[in-house]
Symmetry: C2
Subunit: 85 residues, 2 copies
């Protein structure tokens, strides 16, 4: 078992309403950042896990996302990085 | 003004309590993912903004993080990517 550090992005599905992103956009406009267009707010998770190799670590984290971390109805996830810790 | 898409990670400062990460670790252990160690939960923002060049886009987003998006007492931020949209 090698320790791995896996980064995951969980973001609202495209086309779904993202009220938190809309609120951030409005707040940035109020602060004077007029050039800002859309903002998307999601979650960034860093999971430390042991696995035989990087492929097994990624597969394990995909399983975690499907079973617990991401809501399959409203969210998409992507594995951003798998690095040996 | 070129449109840029800037990705930002906002994470709890190292050494500070991360109760959300602890809750996720415990839930993953309960689901049978015994190899999971620490989990860190932060935010992943994608900001679409216009700027003269990539350097200006990154500088502008750093300013947004310092003024609105990240809590300087409890959070660190890093610019993960700056891509022309």
């Amino acid at each position: 078992m090698t320790p791995y550090r896996v980064s995951v992005h969980i973001v609202p599905r495209k086309g779904l309403l993202d009220p938190q992103g809309k609120a951030v956009t409005d707040a940035l406009h109020t602060l004077g950042f007029a050039a800002v267009g859309d903002v998307h707010v999601g979650r960034h998770l860093v999971i430390e896990t042991g696995a035989a190799d990087a492929t097994a670590a990624e597969r394990s984290v995909r399983d975690m996302c499907a079973r617990l971390l991401a809501n399959p109805v409203t969210e998409d996830f992507e594995i951003a990085a798998v690095v040996a810790a």
